[in-house]
């Protein structure tokens, strides 16, 4: 009897919860996990570092939130924010699109760079942002990252780059392509100076970014289940005229093939980076 009553109470509570959920749904407090398809409360996801509480899927982060997760509070000092988008091809509609994105995302370009402390360890950090033209690398991204590399050489500090990118930015043509040579050359100098570079790959890291600084870390970390590759899966499928196997170009696949050092969950990322930095002091 008592059990029945409890059940009944629970049932009523469930109905109430569901109704609350339904009304929240109307005002966009819910999000569906693209991996496990579970409907999740946005606040729960947010409070869980934007990782699905159900299946562990790591959702994409803005550069601002990533910096908040990695840098000690109040220590991040931005550099290179004066470097803005250029339009070397005078490509129709490009700058207009950039202006719209700036308005929408409240960021100026697809990477934020600066100096910060990570568990008290000073480091230069560059964090790409997939919300800005898919984190593509044009001249501003390449220049900001090169400035960050050069600052880390000048100050003899370790360098951490969080990558997320669809590749080179098409709208800037050949100038985007040259950013690959520029950033890779700067890393050659960094390497000669005997400094530590940690590259962190997040979902997705592809194209010209994979084929430049993302792949050149002394230590390469990746979040779980990210897409990481040079050619995009669709291009490969069109080329070989067959479907790619499950898990192809995922973090775990790259670990197995020897192209990354470690897969690190978001909740451990900060402490793991700090630990690596301390091991190089």
């Amino acid at each position: 009897m008592i059990i029945d009553k409890v059940k009944k109470v629970n049932k009523e509570e469930n109905v109430r919860n569901r109704n609350e959920k339904a009304s929240d749904m109307m005002i966009g407090k819910w999000v569906k996990c693209d991996k496990c398809k579970e409907i999740l409360y946005k606040d729960d996801v947010h409070n869980n570092l934007s990782v699905c509480p159900n299946c562990g899927r790591h959702f994409r982060l803005s550069s601002r939130r990533r910096i908040n997760q990695i840098a000690d509070e109040g220590t991040f000092e931005e550099i290179g924010q004066e470097i803005l988008t250029k339009d070397p091809l005078q490509f129709e509609g490009y700058l207009k699109k950039v202006e719209m994105l700036k308005e929408k995302t409240k960021i100026e370009e697809a990477v934020k760079c600066g100096i910060c402390k990570i568990e008290g360890e000073q480091a230069v950090i560059a964090v790409m942002d997939g919300n800005f033209l898919m984190g593509s690398m044009g001249s501003a991204v390449g220049e900001r990252i090169t400035l960050a590399i050069e600052l880390s050489i000048e100050k003899k500090l370790p360098l951490v780059i969080f990558c997320v990118s669809g590749g080179a930015r098409m709208q800037e043509g050949i100038v985007s392509l040259m950013q690959m040579a520029k950033t890779s050359s700067a890393l050659a100098k960094h390497n000669e100076a005997g400094l530590l570079y940690i590259s962190v790959l997040t979902d997705p890291t592809t194209g010209g970014v994979t084929a430049s600084f993302a792949s050149l870390g002394d230590i390469i970390l990746a979040e779980p289940d990210c897409l990481i590759g040079f050619a995009g899966p669709r291009v490969i499928e069109q080329t070989i005229k067959q479907k790619l196997p499950e898990g192809f170009q995922k973090s775990e696949f790259l670990l197995e093939h020897g192209f990354i050092d470690r897969i690190v969950e978001r909740k451990n990322m900060k402490s793991e980076i700090a630990k690596i930095i301390r091991l190089h002091k």
């Binding site: 091809l89 098409m170 050659a188 430049s212």
Partner: protein, 263 residues
């Protein structure tokens, strides 16, 4: 050639089967070319040819992306689209050139690095990145010549040099005009329009200071007078190497860094 040739015309000229390929230039510019094979890690990629040769009497290392002229040869050469082992062979021989103090000459002619499953499994991105990074600090002169199609990271991977030159009808771009059109115009048939807006011709790239020099071609394209183009190219390579050899090694590397730093 007349200025009325459009960017798309040059794309077509750069791609025609009879256009001279890397080996044609290697054999006409250098003596005693000895091809060397393999990356010492996985295999030998036939879409990149590499070896030692003599430029007049000076030993040099020569590397070139090699397309075929006929279907069978193109299959063998993977249409000039290298796999990671191609870039790793190239880098191995560039480091060998540095060890023996030989200048390096590279020939660029590729529709892009190969986007296949094996290429991904063996780290195409890493191979390209490593090649650019190492080229930027090699202590010997490097001359890079875009002879046909220089497309994407697959071209840039062997084009980080002290001098980057283009043949008049060659094109050098972030990806093919077809790819560009399909991404930005959502319609690959708009490739002609794309070619015009992408700034991919030697003339445009000289203005943008991406390249240092344009080598003229005869009317109709390089295939109509390989000897003339080779002679002009040889003279340019020779003159450049003589000048670059006089620069102290540290300064040579610094100048190369500054060249790409400005882009």
């Amino acid at each position: 050639m007349s200025n009325k040739i459009t960017a798309w015309d040059r794309v077509c000229l750069a791609r025609i089967a009879e256009r001279p390929k890397s080996l044609d230039y290697i054999n006409s510019i250098f003596d005693d070319f000895m091809e060397l094979h393999g990356d010492r890690l996985y295999g030998d990629d036939k879409s990149i040819v590499a070896g030692i040769a003599k430029l007049d009497n000076v030993a040099v290392t020569v590397i070139g992306e090699q397309k075929g002229k006929k279907a069978k040869e193109n299959m063998e050469r993977n249409f000039g689209m290298p796999n990671p082992e191609g870039y790793r062979k190239s880098l191995r021989l560039m480091k060998q050139a540095e060890k023996f103090n030989r200048p390096i000459i590279t020939f660029i002619d590729t529709p892009g690095a190969y986007p296949g499953m094996g290429a991904e499994e063996r780290g195409q991105g890493e191979a390209i990145a490593r090649s650019m990074m190492e080229m930027s600090k090699l202590k010997v002169p490097i001359i890079c010549v875009v002879i046909g199609e220089g497309s994407s990271g697959g071209a840039l991977a062997i084009a980080v040099g002290d001098k980057v030159v283009m043949l008049e009808n060659a094109v050098y771009s972030i990806l093919s005009p077809e790819g560009f059109a399909s991404i930005l115009y959502k319609d690959s048939s708009k490739c002609k329009e794309a070619a015009e807006s992408m700034k991919i011709t030697a003339e445009d790239l000289k203005k943008l200071k991406i390249i240092d020099k344009i080598i003229q071609e005869p009317e109709g394209g390089a295939q109509n007078n390989l000897e003339q183009v080779s002679n002009d190219l040889k003279k340019y390579i020779n003159d450049s190497i003589i000048k670059l050899k006089q620069i102290p090694k540290e300064k040579l590397i610094e100048q190369r860094y500054e060249k790409f730093r400005k882009m």
